[in-house]
Structures are given as structure tokens and as C-alpha cells.
Symmetry: C2
Subunit: 436 residues, 2 copies
């Protein structure tokens, strides 16, 4: 038989135990928060009809698709995000869903992009959406959910920067650059990275006139700050248009719903790249790691299901950047990456005592303590090395002597303490005293 | 813009909130047990090189592949199980893994089979494997893990039936039918479904002679029972071959490692369909729902990484049937399917009190109680209907009157009780008293 090389496809990766355990724990904490807010998971297939996921006009994304004809000659592709399938899902299952509909989805998506450092062709997205309501309560709840999610991960110093797309839009109407508003937003969105001077520069390149740039520039001067303070400054602009008034009212209402909430600023420079946002938008930055970019962002969209239905369906969403969060938590030393959840290894010193020691393992596990048992009758040195490699702190040893006395030899591999314990409870007591 | 029909591909499905929440909770409980035993997750890509997943010779499975050429003209396919990618993973990452290696994987696989009731072209597999040891402790730990996993799901009446492939093999050698041992095993494996008489019949069809059938038949008479009892009966067969002795010794050792363990029987009729098992095999049946088939099965294999390496790598695995488990738990009424984790709905009766009631929601969530807040200023009747549809038992209402008194009106929608509570703690106390 020929031996093959176990290669991965270019741009794909394996997650090793440490990495996968970290990710799994992170996802569990996020899911728990989502569910505390009444969001429920849904699942959609990884594979869908191509024509339902992209429009003919979408050049850029269609180059990145994993697209093929299946055995039934259907034109299919792997999903490239979770939002388009959500729209398909809502349209299809409309009669079986309860609206307002609150769902989260965590799943892998596929993009045949040029692989870059830290970017992969298959990656996990984590989205929450509150669909079928135009109330600002949806934004308020999603912002509160972002806050409690990050807190549950022990991230403390972060700011969610909130803006309303309608503000720049109404300035665009007033100063007559609404036709290129998309380009202007894209330039303004880069202000954190390239600085104010370069933004002004690029606005010139877009062909804007001095007067228009002055208007944008004095608007950008408002910058960021406490919601009430920014609202005052915006009102002082005295732009009289229905859209501007709407924008201010929405931000005002959001502020009143949130009450005294830390971690939130209003920031007129936030634009968010994605085209489908139409109202309030937000992104989340970690104060200690600004270079990492936004770890959670989103906003309100007007019409989720427009490709599938004439009925309008407004909603608010947010997307957590799992890879960025993991990078951040590692940098902030908020994650202790482990090879195993077990902190106790049951050694094997003769076959006759295996069932005796496995019984102890069972008792410990029933009390919620993770335990590994070494499978082979290897030299103890090798078993210690296994514990060391996996960063397992305690070892239990039992042979005929221990069985006769009805005890277990218990070693703390860190401080070299050694005890004879009678049962699982004594072991658990010792460990919990250590942790105090 | 043209409106499209939101169709799913044939054989694919959406999971709605109820179904997805049930599955998510089930997976969480299983993961928790796996990790208590020191198994860690890994992840491999959904897409791999086709030549690494199948051998040229494998006709049946290759017809079921989602296979295509990617943008780089690579011959790729979606994974059809988690075992072949595991072999590729272990071969590729050998130097970064700690052996014996204990991993679990839960992920979706794809097979373009003819869709049948309850069978889909994309489905979730859930596998655990203990790799790189020939010790019977691996089997013992996996069996104990199956038991505690099922107990954690509140499944009580189940039997794991254990056998050793080597037994039938040595009978095959002694009675000269080893060449068609695969066919014989396949027939014997059906004994639960078709009965003993039909098995004998089919063995005739295979062309076995009377003497051979008699040998198989008196072997099958041993049937199933307490491990010690079955071991005695097997020894009484007095088959003298190295393989038979090995088989008995392995089962004997396994029994001694397990000690007094309920839920386990030895059963000489268990064969397991999959070709790669070479030693001890097992399957798990629910006593109240035998028709559902095995909910967890597996066994020992000799050489996981044979396609990738000359080094032998033995292991033991088990696979949980998630869909079967969900079906069973629903039938046994061990799952209460819900649309949301929340059991409290914060109503909205005016905009001025939204921040007051959201503050309560925040306190409840911080104490681990799931809460939804109704986003719209709808009529209370509509908000009650929302609670009813989602089976939410309690409702909190607050307006200017409540704010003035510093209370919340709390309604138990089931027994129509109504209270004024001051804070989250009073609400939690009331609910926990109800549940006692």
C-alpha cells in the first residue's frame, strides 16, 4: 500500500487540543450569555443553492466561492457567511418562527481568499440577531449582551463605539455628496488607522470640494465621548432634515433605554464597512489592545429578507470575532491554555489495582473533578512525564499496599507534597484549600 | 429585483430554535463528560484532498462524495466521516501531540446518499478516541465514559453489549471458514433483527457446511449475559488457538479493570459492521426502545494511520448517535423542548420605564436567570401571547406606578398568582420555592 503525505489544503488548518479546547470554552461562555438574553441557536446547512447565496452582480464575493455542481447537477456552494443563510432561513421558516425572532449561530464559513497570516479559508463566525422589530430596545439589548459577554470572558477595559449611519447620510444630502456616500464612509472609517490628516487628504482625492470637506471635517471634530455630550454637539450642528432628526432621536432613545451604562461611547467616525447597515452601528475595541481592531461589531439593517420576500423585515445584529478574541485573551493572560481539563492523573503501577484506582476516578468525576488515568503499565518516570507535558498537577498512585490500607497515595507535583488520602472527598478538600 | 424561493437542497435541513437548542444542550452535556475523562476536542477542516479521504478501491463511498475541483484546480471533497480526517490529523501533527492521545470531535459530515426519512445528506457525528495504547484500560475508560454520558442525559435503562472480533475469527480458522468471515459476521450481526433461525438459513446460503453451521450455532447459543458467565462458557468451548486465548484474556482483563460495573453484558453475537475493528467491539441499546438501535458503538482498531505512516497506531473509539439519542430522549420524555431558555419576560408598557425594567433584567441575568424583554410597545395581550407561544411562565411589568413604589409587578402565568417584588432576589426566591 502506498503511503500518502497527510497534507492540508492551502489556507486550511487543524486545531490542536490546546487551541480547540480554548475555542470550545470561549464558545460555551458566549452561548451561555446569548441564552441568558433569550437568544436560541439555529443551524443551517453548510451547502446551499449558489443562486440563493449570491446575486449575479456580486463580483468580488463570487470569486471567493467554493462553488461546484453536485451529483444531481445542482449549482451549489459552501456558505461564505451566516447572514445570507439566515435570510433564507427566515424566509423559508417564517410560519414556524416566533417573532420578534432572536437567534444566534456559530458555524464555519468558507472563502477562497488569498491566505494571509492569521486568515484562513475556513473560519468560524459567531452571530446574534434580533429580527422583526424596529424598536431601539433591540439595539439596547444587543449592546448589553456584548457587554456581559465580554465580562464573562474577563475582558474589562473595552469601549463600544456607537454611531448612526443616518447622520453622515443627512450631511451628505445637505452638502450634496450623497452619491458617493459609500466612498466617504469608507474613508472616514479608516480614521483610527490613518489619522485625521490623511482622511482629509483622501476626501480630496475623492473629488470633494473645499466646502464639503469643511463640513465633514467640522462634523468629525465632534469625535467621541459620553452619549449625552455627543448628542448635544450633534444637535448644535442644526441640520434640519427628517433623516438627521430621526438619527438623533434614535440615538437619544437608545441612550435613555441603556440608562447609566459603562463601556459605551457615541462616536461619529464609526461607519462599519458592510453595505447593508442602515441605522445605528457599533464596534468594540479593547483599550489595552487597540491594534487588534474591533472584537464585536454590528448594527441595524432595514430589510433582511429582501431577496426572498416583499415583506420588510428589520433587525439588529452583532458578530463576535472569535479569532481576535482568542488572540486578545491570550495576550491579556486571561486564558490559561491547557492540553486537558484533568488536573489529576491516576497512575498505573500494577494491573491488579487498576479497578481500585478507576473506582476513585469514577467518584471524582461524579463530583465534577476531571481525571485522567494512564493506560499503560509504563515506568512511573514516563507517567510523571506525561503529567508534566499535560500540565497535570496531581497524581494518584495505588498498589497492593494502598489497597490493603484502603488509601491512595496522592502527590502534588508542584510543591512535592505527598499524602495518603482515603477517598475522593479528601482529595477534593485538599485541592480546594490550595486554591483559596 | 426578482424574488427567489428560499429552497433547501434535497436531503438538507434547517434546525429550528427548539431542535437546535435541544441538540446544543445534549452536546454540551456530552462534551462535559468527555472532558471529565480527560478527552479534549480537536478540529479538522470540512474540506480535504480527495485522495487522502478515499482509496481508489472504495467504490461505494466514492459515489456518495461531495467532490469537486477548487479554484486552484485541486481535487477536493467534503469529509464523509470524522475517522479518516482523524488519521490524517494524527499523522500530520504526530510531533505536537501527547500520546496516548485522547480526543473527541463533534462535527458535520456529508454523504450524497438517497435521502430517507430521518436521514440527511449533512449530519453531525460525535466521536471519542483513545489512541496509541494497546492497554485494555482504554476500552474500560471508554465504556465507563459511555455509561456516565448516558447517565448525564438521564438515560437509565441501557445495556452495553461487548464482544471480541477475535473470537469468531478463531472459530473461523478452526472450522475453515475464515475466508468468508466478513460475510459470516454480517449475517450474525443481524440476529437481533431477523432472529436465530433466519441467521442459520442465511449461513446455508453462504455455502457453509452442516458441521461449520453447527459450530457457529453452538457458539451463538452462548448468547449474552454477565461477563463472568459468558467467559466461562467461552472457555468451555476449548478452542486451542493463540487468537482465541488472546480474545478470552482481553475480555477477562477488561472485566477485571471494570470491576463491578452495571450496564455491561458480554454478547458473542455483536459484530459491528465497520471493517476496521480488530478486537473488542461494543454497542449500546436502550431497554425501553430496542427498535431505535445502538445509540453508541465502537471498538478497537489496530492501525489508524496505515495510509500515512508505517508506524502502527492502535486505538479504541466510540461514536454517539446524536439523532438517535435525541429521538430516544424525546420518546422517554427526558427532554423538555423549549423555544428559549428564558422563563421570564419583561413586558413593555411605556418607553419611560424601559431602562428601569432592563436594569432588573440585568440583575437577574447576572444571577444566572435567563430573561427576555419584549422589544415593542405592543398591547399587553400581544406580549402575553408571545410569552405563551414561547412557553415563558413569568412576566414582569413596570410603569410609572411601579417605579414610584420601587417595585415590579410579577405574574405567574400558569397559576395566575401576582405579586409586587422589590428586586431580582425576591423573584429568584419565589421561583426556586415553586420548583421545590
Amino acid at each position: 500500500m502506498s503511503i500518502k503525505k497527510p497534507n492540508l489544503l492551502k489556507g486550511f488548518r487543524d486545531l490542536l487540543p490546546k487551541e480547540a479546547l480554548t475555542k470550545s470554552d470561549l464558545i460555551y461562555k458566549l452561548k451561555n450569555q446569548f441564552e441568558l438574553f433569550g437568544f436560541t441557536p439555529i443551524e443551517t446547512p453548510h451547502l446551499e443553492y449558489t443562486e440563493l447565496l449570491i446575486k449575479e452582480s456580486e463580483g468580488e464575493i463570487s470569486k471567493q466561492l467554493y462553488r461546484f455542481n453536485d451529483n444531481g447537477d445542482r449549482d451549489v456552494c459552501l456558505r461564505f457567511d451566516l447572514t445570507v443563510p439566515l435570510a433564507r432561513f427566515v424566509a423559508k421558516n417564517q410560519n414556524d418562527l416566533i417573532f420578534p425572532f432572536k437567534r444566534y449561530a456559530i458555524g464555519n464559513v468558507f472563502r477562497a481568499e488569498k491566505p494571509q497570516f492569521g486568515r484562513y479559508r475556513e473560519f468560524t463566525q459567531c452571530d446574534i440577531d434580533f429580527i422583526g422589530t424596529e424598536s431601539r430596545l433591540a439595539e439596547a439589548e444587543i449592546l448589553k449582551l456584548i457587554i456581559s459577554s465580554l465580562k464573562s470572558l474577563n475582558v474589562k477595559d473595552f469601549t463600544i463605539r456607537v454611531n448612526n449611519r443616518k447622520i453622515m447620510n443627512s450631511i451628505g444630502i445637505k452638502y450634496n455628496f450623497v452619491k458617493i456616500i459609500g466612498d466617504v464612509l469608507r474613508v472616514v472609517d479608516k480614521i483610527d488607522k490613518i489619522g485625521r490628516a490623511e482622511v482629509i487628504n483622501e476626501l480630496h482625492v475623492l473629488g470633494l470640494k473645499e466646502e464639503q470637506i469643511l463640513a465633514i471635517s467640522s462634523f468629525l471634530d465632534i469625535g467621541r465621548g459620553e452619549p449625552k455630550e455627543i448628542l448635544e454637539k450633534l444637535r448644535a450642528l442644526k441640520i434640519e432634515s427628517q433623516e438627521f432628526t430621526e438619527a438623533i432621536n434614535e440615538l437619544d432613545e437608545l441612550q435613555s433605554f441603556l440608562g447609566e451604562t459603562k463601556n459605551i461611547e457615541y462616536d461619529v467616525t464609526i461607519a462599519r464597512g458592510l453595505g447593508y447597515y442602515t441605522g445605528i452601528v457599533y464596534e468594540t475595541n479593547l483599550l489595552e489592545l487597540p491594534e487588534i481592531g474591533s472584537v464585536c461589531s454590528g448594527g441595524r439593517y432595514d430589510n433582511l429578507t429582501q431577496n426572498f420576500s416583499k415583506q420588510k423585515m428589520s433587525g439588529v445584529g452583532a458578530s463576535f470575532g472569535l479569532d481576535r478574541l482568542i488572540t486578545a485573551l491570550l495576550e491579556l493572560k486571561q486564558i490559561n491554555q491547557r492540553e486537558t481539563k484533568a488536573n489529576i492523573l491516576c497512575a498505573q503501577i500494577d494491573k491488579a489495582s487498576v479497578s481500585y484506582i478507576l473506582k476513585l476516578a469514577e467518584e471524582l468525576r461524579e463530583k465534577g473533578v476531571a481525571v485522567e488515568s494512564y493506560p499503560d503499565l509504563s515506568k512511573l518516570k514516563k507517567q510523571f512525564q506525561y503529567a508534566e507535558k499535560k500540565n497535570i498537577q496531581f497524581m494518584v498512585i495505588a498498589g497492593s499496599e494502598e489497597i490493603e490500607k484502603g488509601v491512595f497515595t496522592f502527590k502534588n507535583l508542584k510543591n512535592k507534597e505527598q499524602f495518603e488520602f482515603k477517598n475522593a472527598s479528601q482529595i477534593i478538600e485538599y485541592i480546594s484549600n490550595l486554591n483559596e
